[in-house]
Amino acid sequence: MRSLQAENHPLSNTLQQLTVLNTGTAPIAALPKFEDKLEQANLYPLRPTGIDVLQLNIGKMCNQTCKHCHVDAGPDRKEIMSQETMQQCLAIVEKHNIGTVDITGGAPEMNPHFRWLVNELHKLNTKVIVRCNLTIIVANKKYFDLPHFYAQNNVEIVSSLPFYTISRTDAQRGDGVFTDSIKALQLLNEVGYGKPDSSLKLNLVYNPSGAFLPASQQSLETDFKRELAQHYGIVFNSLYTITNLPISRFLNYLIDSGNYEAYMEKLVNAYNAEAAQQVMCRNTLSVSWDGSLYDCDFNQMLNLKVNSPCNHISEFSLQSIMERNIVVNQHCYGCTAGAGSSCGGSLA
């Protein structure tokens, strides 16, 4: 499977995605606008509450090509963050004492400057989260020592495992991914990750393998812990449930499978104002591989830059960023459906 970009697919154009989201068909165009929903809850314009998390997307290159990937990542994507841009991010983290840096991709480990970045952040005593796809750990011998590297730098690991069965995981992430993910989780456990008496945090991410919403985070966590412990001897700390947002490859899947309109209606019908108050874009700032600033990783993939005079890390101004109105569109319903969704799991 290749990325939408490599296939020159119409949906690799972000403007086309926004058109599909807003006026794709008559039923889609008839859906209430997300900003109107926020307005009803006195949340529009949506405003930031701070920058607790700086999320760095350090590249679109990945060893996997997942069917639902909102980044359209894959082995054929070459965009990666330069060391110079990383240095600019580090300077902002240090200057503004940002508490958490969340490193994502693609497979962030495939960026040649990844380890340098993590080491530098560790020196700043910042909490570092790495969104590791697990299979990278067993993909090539140059990555075999990643569990030790993570442990040495006290990195918090957040890893996708869509389900505790082979069929649903491989259906979404590719053949063999479940088996490799299990091996990687066992290696992480071996160095202390996820153990009850360890400070090394290992959190897993569940996201639905299809056009449906996540179940209760608490009940799924119980299931995952029971099944992974019983069958594979794996332990972990928390499970985050994340709703698939209708953009990029997941949008393509929805359209191809005939589920697009029903899924959007489902998201809209499940709108939860309580979740809307707590969406992650209010306390997170997202930086792309080229240093551009976004309200979240999803806006980044739709090329919806922050609504601020400073929209690049090289010209960062805390005051300007805090004065901005957060950019919203129809995909935002994904973060407010049901119990809500964020990079840290459910919200309400």
């Binding site: 449906f212 919403l213 996540p214």
Partner: protein
Amino acid sequence: MSTYYNPEDLKKFSSISDFQPELGKKFFDYYGEVFKEGALSVREKSLIALAVAHVVQCPYCIDAYSTDCLDKGATEQQMMEAIHVGAAIKGGSTLVHGVQMMNKIKELTM
């Protein structure tokens, strides 16, 4: 009307209140209460509903509760086992009536 069952009609379920609002409201209030988390989890209730949907052979209910079971985190195996429970009861209820047939035979024969 080209078919008795149209998937789009599922979305119109609430319109059954149009002709009798009072009873419709009572039904939907009750329905909502039944499916809340209680002594049974919402997932268990959804699996029961899926099994019953098959036993009563309601296409709307099968559509709705196949989706709902996935939303509630059920596995494919759990969903199929639930249907087997429904099938076993339906098959069993047919066969257990065989005792009535046997009783009648005893009554009528030497």
